[in-house]
């Protein structure tokens, strides 16, 4: 036999090496001829060897069907081993030689009567596998006998054979009454027979959805549950899968089934465990949640799932895919088992990735620290793919668990410091998402990101970085340079980067119109003229048209507020999840697709749904079965009320200034920029008519109209808002009373309506009899009523904080304006701001939260008791080192020294002494800030010279600049 095997190997090698096909066929013929001779030999051993050789050739794909009659001749033997080999051959070739197969029928029928149960079963089994129509009628009689055979081995084989026969000829099976016999076998004494009968019936029932074949009622369920305890593991799987299709009548029945299925959870065969999990997950829906048993069951589900993770990697992977579903449906089962999902270094990569996914799903505030530490560890591993996914996972954690966002960002920054190229790139992509989720919160990291600009070489990271630069252009000083550097190799970039670059530069232009005009023209012409990518070209044209027709609208569109992203985007849709839960432990749960998506349609695939606990009596298929609770609601979408804003814009342009507020400060400049663009940019575009692209533009009527319209509209839209704004400013300035001679600047617009969905806030800071107040005018320029106002400050240099809530008690109806005064205290949290007197404010109403920042005059903070004793002043002046002194010039001030002194006194700047040296008045002044810092000043006023010189000394020299600005403001008004 050894020899023969070697020969087989040699033959195969020989065959595969041969290239001369002619020679190859002749050898083959010779080989078959040889085999034929051996098959007809008288010696049993030789026959057996020959059949083996035939089967070996069959396996490697050679056609040995020509030997059919010779092999069938060997069939009549009492040697079981030879018989099996011949049957093996028959099963393979009967289909291609149906006429010849009939030759074998007699032997089959005879074998079915054999004394040896092994031979009886073998014959029935093989006959069923010969898928030839003609043979089936001969099969019926033997099959009927075998179904009632005394030996369970034969019966169980016969049970499966019914399913085989049904597949070939369904009508025959029904006519012969095999189905009833099969149903009787469910009550067989041998559990193996029961299991096979259940399997066969389930399969037949699947092709007749309405046949009620597998009539599951409490009695049969009881039989199945009894057989469950006795039969082999594989039989248990059939039975459990069958049970999963049953719908219990009430919660008591489902509890009793659950109780009897639960012991299967500790089985060594993972398929049994998962089938049991499926039954339990399904029947659990029926149980009332307050039942003690429900809690017990939940606890019992965790250990078997955890055990699966110590199996072979293939099983682990399949188990993880299923756990992923279970975690989404019932996170409580595994919420304490985070540790088992930690990645082992020797897990295959596909297992690692699945584990990561589940870790994120299980992440919560309670375990986030542990998870982040673990993820950070992964990010330093060697496997690049895995490291990338780990970095992504950190980002997803930040988005999922809001409280952890800060920690996640700092972890990402740590990772960026490693300077490992792919880690940095991935981190930047992730930070972009974090910015989307938490706008205006972590912008401090932008500087760090910009440092790594050079090292980005992957399109996704470059695109993300460009997006960040464009989005926060106003906070990045050299945004234009950064973007320009990308522009150099524009045509070598991938489409993703090109599109992002285009958008970012347009954003930058809308934010800083004056400096970036050239840049935007450059990118627009690159996108529209030199690119053959239709997406890029179209987007370029859209921006161009927008910018040239209506820059305000362009701002609306390009800088529109983006809907917040949430972690729900990667969750499976609830209805699909419900269906997949019904298919736990099947391929559907591995693909995460419903079976209908990958199983051929003919096998009646029903969409299974979970039964709700409310509808305990309803059938599973019933469409109105109460879908289970806990289905997540639609994520809150932030949609800016575009209609209102449009109306608002129209108002701005057309109606007299009385009803409208001033436009955003940037608007006039921006429109000027746009006009230039119209002049220069368009001409050059129109000039290129000879190119196909140019022709394209000319041919488009919409384009022409877009170009033609703006010049006419320009003067109107340019003049109206500006004059309106000025009037308004003047109005407001006059409206606020000037008290006690202290200087109060006019109100300025802090929050333009455009940025805040119709809410406009203008305001001013005043100090009245020792109390700092923030006086605000709130106007509703939207169409809907606003209410529920609230205000909050970010930490700031002097700890300013609202001393009470914002007193706006009545809702603000459209076009209404309301005045509000907010008393401020100086005991809030302190953080140094740049500039020092910058204040970041958040205002909330029923629509959204808006952020703006404003600067308060530092005189707000000068205390009434800021007059120093002369001696103290002298001592302090000397005490403060000279490097803390700063000098400023105040130009064009025509007050004499006394008038100045009086005026300053109104702002709590006290003159302590006055000296006159050579016609120059020197005023020595002091002031005290709310946080106890003293500022000393020497003001020199020379008669006839409108320029004052001021020297400031203070222990905290940072405030000098602010104080000087305040002097200037007070003295000039």
């Amino acid at each position: 036999m050894q020899e023969w095997a070697n020969q087989l190997c040699e033959n195969r090698q020989f065959g595969s090496k041969m290239t001369d096909s002619k020679y190859f066929t002749t050898t083959k013929k010779g080989e078959i001829f040889e085999l034929k001779a051996e098959l007809n030999s008288d010696k049993k051993e030789k026959k057996k060897e020959a059949v083996k050789k035939v089967i070996a050739s069959m396996t490697v794909g050679k056609d040995v069907s020509a030997l059919f009659p010779d092999v069938v001749n060997c069939m009549q033997t009492d040697n079981l081993e030879l018989k099996k080999l011949v049957y093996l051959y028959l099963m393979n070739y009967a289909k291609s030689q149906p006429d010849m197969a009939i030759m074998a029928v007699n032997t089959f029928v005879k074998d079915c009567e054999d004394l040896n149960p092994l031979i009886r079963a073998l014959a029935v089994r093989t006959m069923g596998c010969i898928r030839v129509d003609k043979i089936t009628e001969y099969l019926c009689e033997p099959l009927r006998k075998c179904l009632k055979d005394e030996d369970p081995y034969v019966r169980k084989t016969a049970a499966v054979c019914v399913a085989k026969l049904h597949d070939i000829n369904a009508q025959l099976v029904e006519d012969q009454g095999f189905l009833d016999t099969l149903k009787d076998l469910i009550s067989d004494s041998n559990p193996m027979v029961v299991a096979n009968a259940v399997a066969a019936l389930s399969e037949i029932a699947e092709s007749h959805p309405n046949s009620n074949l597998l009539d599951l009622n409490p009695q049969t369920i009881n039989k199945l549950l009894t057989a469950l305890n006795e039969c082999t593991e594989w039989g248990q799987i059939f039975i459990l899968d069958c049970l999963a299709n049953y719908t219990p009548r009430d919660d008591r029945e489902s509890q009793s089934i659950c109780e009897r299925v639960t012991p299967r959870l500790s089985h060594a065969n993972s398929a049994v465990v998962l089938s049991a999990v499926k039954v339990l997950m399904k029947f659990m829906e029926m149980l009332p949640k307050d039942l003690d048993y429900y809690g017990t069951l939940l606890k019992k589900l965790a250990p078997p799932l955890v055990t699966l993770l110590s199996a072979e990697p293939e099983l682990q992977y399949v188990a993880l895919r299923n756990i992923n579903l279970i975690v989404q449906r019932r996170p409580e089962i595994l919420k304490h088992e985070m540790k088992v999902f930690f990645v082992k270094y020797n897990d295959p990569i596909y297992v690692k990735l699945e584990k990561l996914d589940i870790m994120i799903r299980l992440a919560s505030q309670a375990n986030i620290a542990q998870v982040l530490a673990e993820l950070k560890e992964y990010a330093t591993e060697v496997d690049v793919d895995f490291v990338r996914k780990a970095v992504r996972a950190i980002g997803r954690c930040a988005i999922k668990v809001e409280q952890s966002a800060e920690r996640c960002v700092s972890t990402l920054l740590d990772l960026i410091q490693t300077k490992v190229n792919y880690v940095v790139q991935e981190a930047i992509v992730v930070i972009k998402d974090i910015f989307r989720k938490y706008p205006n919160k972590y912008e401090s990291v932008i500087a760090t990101l910009c440092e790594h600009l050079e090292s980005l070489d992957e399109p996704e990271a470059r695109a993300a970085m460009i997006w960040i630069v464009g989005e926060y252009a106003e906070r990045i000083d050299n945004a234009d340079e950064l973007l320009e550097s990308f522009l150099e190799g524009f045509h070598d970039e991938s489409t993703q980067v090109q599109l992002q670059l285009l958008t970012a530069i347009v954003k930058l232009f809308l934010k800083k119109p004056t400096e970036t005009q050239e840049l935007v023209q450059q990118v627009l012409s690159l996108a529209t003229q030199d690119s053959d990518n239709p997406d890029l070209r179209d987007r370029g044209y859209i921006y161009w048209r927008l910018l040239s027709t209506d820059p305000v609208a362009a701002k609306e569109v390009v800088l529109a507020e983006k809907p917040l992203i949430s972690e729900e985007t990667d969750l499976i849709e609830p209805t699909l999840l419900e269906e997949l839960i019904c298919h736990i432990g099947t391929l559907a749960s591995v693909y995460h697709k419903p079976p209908s998506a990958f199983v051929e349609g003919s096998r009646g695939v029903q969409h299974k749904r979970l039964a709700g606990s409310a509808g305990s009596g309803e059938s599973v298929e019933s469409p109105d079965t109460g879908s289970a609770a806990g289905v997540s609601e639609a994520p809150p979408a932030v949609i800016p009320s575009q209609g209102d804003l449009l109306g608002d814009l129209l108002n701005l342009d057309l109606t007299p200034p009385t009803a409208t507020g001033p436009p955003p400060a940037a608007a006039p400049g921006m429109q000027l920029g746009a006009m230039d663009l119209l002049g220069g940019g368009l001409d050059s575009l129109m000039g290129d008519e000879s190119e196909p692209l140019g022709g394209d533009i000319g041919g488009s009527p919409a384009m022409g109209a877009g170009f033609g319209a703006p010049p006419a509209a320009m003067p109107a839209s340019f003049n109206a808002p500006v004059s309106g704004g000025l009037d308004d400013l003047f109005d407001l300035g006059g409206g606020v009373g000037m008290t006690m001679g202290s200087y109060t600047p006019p109100k300025t617009v802090w929050l333009p309506a455009m940025k805040a969905k119709g809410l406009e806030i203008s305001g001013v800071f005043v100090r009245r009899s020792g109390v700092i107040q923030m006086e605000m005018t709130l106007s509703n320029k939207a169409m809907s009523v606003m209410s529920d106002f609230a205000i909050q400050f970010n930490r700031n240099s002097f700890g300013l904080a609202p001393a009470g809530p914002l007193q706006i008690l009545t809702p603000l109806s459209p076009n209404q304006t309301i005045e509000a005064a907010l008393p401020l205290s100086t005991v809030g949290p302190v953080m140094k701001m740049e500039p020092l007197n910058n204040l970041q404010v958040a205002v909330k109403n029923n629509i959204d939260v808006f952020y703006f920042s404003c600067q308060y005059p530092i005189s707000m903070l000068f205390l009434e008791d800021g007059k120093m004793e002369r001696q103290v002043f002298l001592a302090t002046w000397k005490d403060i080192p000279n490097e803390n002194e700063s000098q400023f010039q105040i130009k064009d001030c025509h007050l004499n020294s006394d008038a100045a002194s009086n005026k300053l006194q109104g702002s709590n700047i006290f003159t302590i002494a006055k000296r006159t040296v050579e016609g120059q008045d020197m005023l020595y002044q002091s002031m005290k800030l709310t946080n106890g810092i003293w500022v000393l000043a020497e003001l020199r006023v020379q008669a006839g010279n409108p320029n004052y010189t001021i020297s400031l000394k203070c222990r905290a020299p940072e405030v000098s600049q602010c104080v000087f600005q305040n002097y200037e403001a007070v003295l000039k008004n």
Partner: protein, 284 residues
């Protein structure tokens, strides 16, 4: 339900091919091999689809063990089946190599015939199967250039000759019935140590995993007892004795092992059926 089962060598040669339900042709073998070799690294190879046909495969002994199915059946049972099949083949052929499979193809076909009927797994326990299997295994001659185990250093007689060669346990279980003579039990203790050392020389991870394998060639083995070191302690349980104790994080046992005496006396009682019984200990 299993539609087909096939075994491929690592180079893609067809070793075994069996169709149970006539749902697809044998051409899918090549489709599978192309798919599995073209797979990028981070794609899970466990389940792959080709039209209506789904491949589930595992790798054991350097071979691809593949099952196909058309229905939405359980990948757990398919994987579990393939793993058990590989075990069964190892039990029957002695070793799990390409050559052993090639030489024993008739035996494997016979096994498959008994184990699966019309795609339904019937029984995979070697106890049950030995009643049905007729073909005898052919063992490939073990590789031995000099019979190294019998030759001591410089040809000196050493104790080595009394030790059975490591290949002794890799023989088919069936032969015991025919040869009648040798009733043997092999207990292998296998330990694997994995250490990861960082580029800076710092030890990042070190763990030891081990298992005790029992291979039984006794026709009727009623019960056997394996005594472990008394100082063997698991998890956080208290140390016993004073010597160099063995502390293990986690232990799992084969289902045939009875643990009544384990807690007190560290004795494992098992009534092995013929073939391999694994008792895995993982130590950290």
């Amino acid at each position: 339900m299993i539609s087909q089962v096939f075994i491929l060598s690592s180079k893609g040669d067809h070793l075994i091919y069996k169709d149970f339900r006539g749902e697809a042709g044998s051409d899918v073998i090549n489709v599978f091999y192309e798919k599995v070799t073209a797979l990028p690294g981070d794609q899970p190879p466990v389940v792959m689809s080709h039209g209506d046909l789904h491949f589930v495969h595992v790798r054991q002994g350097g071979l691809y063990w593949v099952a196909t199915t058309t229905a939405d059946s359980s990948p757990f049972s398919l994987i579990e089946f393939l793993n058990r099949l590989a075990c069964l083949v190892q039990d029957y052929c002695g070793t799990l190599t390409e050559k052993a499979v090639q030489m024993n193809f008739a035996l494997i076909y016979e096994l498959l015939d008994e184990v699966v009927d019309y795609g339904y797994v019937q029984s995979m326990s070697s106890d049950v199967l030995k009643n049905f299997i007729q073909t005898e295994a052919v063992s490939p001659r073990p590789f031995s250039l000099f019979q190294l185990s019998n030759v001591g250093l410089f040809g000196a007689e050493t104790q080595q000759s009394k030790v059975a060669p490591s290949s002794a346990a890799s023989r088919p279980i069936q032969s015991s019935r025919e040869q009648g003579g040798k009733s043997e039990i092999f207990v292998d203790v296998i330990e694997r140590m994995s250490v990861v050392i960082g580029s800076n020389g710092v030890l990042m991870k070190a763990d030891v995993e081990g298992e005790i394998k029992v291979k039984c060639y006794m026709p009727n083995c009623s019960e056997m007892r394996i005594g472990l070191n008394e100082e063997f302690s698991i998890g956080k349980s208290q140390l016993r004795g004073y010597g160099a104790a063995v502390r293990v994080d986690e232990v799992s046992f084969h289902q045939a092992v009875k643990l009544d005496e384990f807690d007190n006396n560290r004795i494992l009682r098992l009534s092995p059926s013929q073939g391999e019984v694994k008792n895995t200990l993982s130590i950290h």
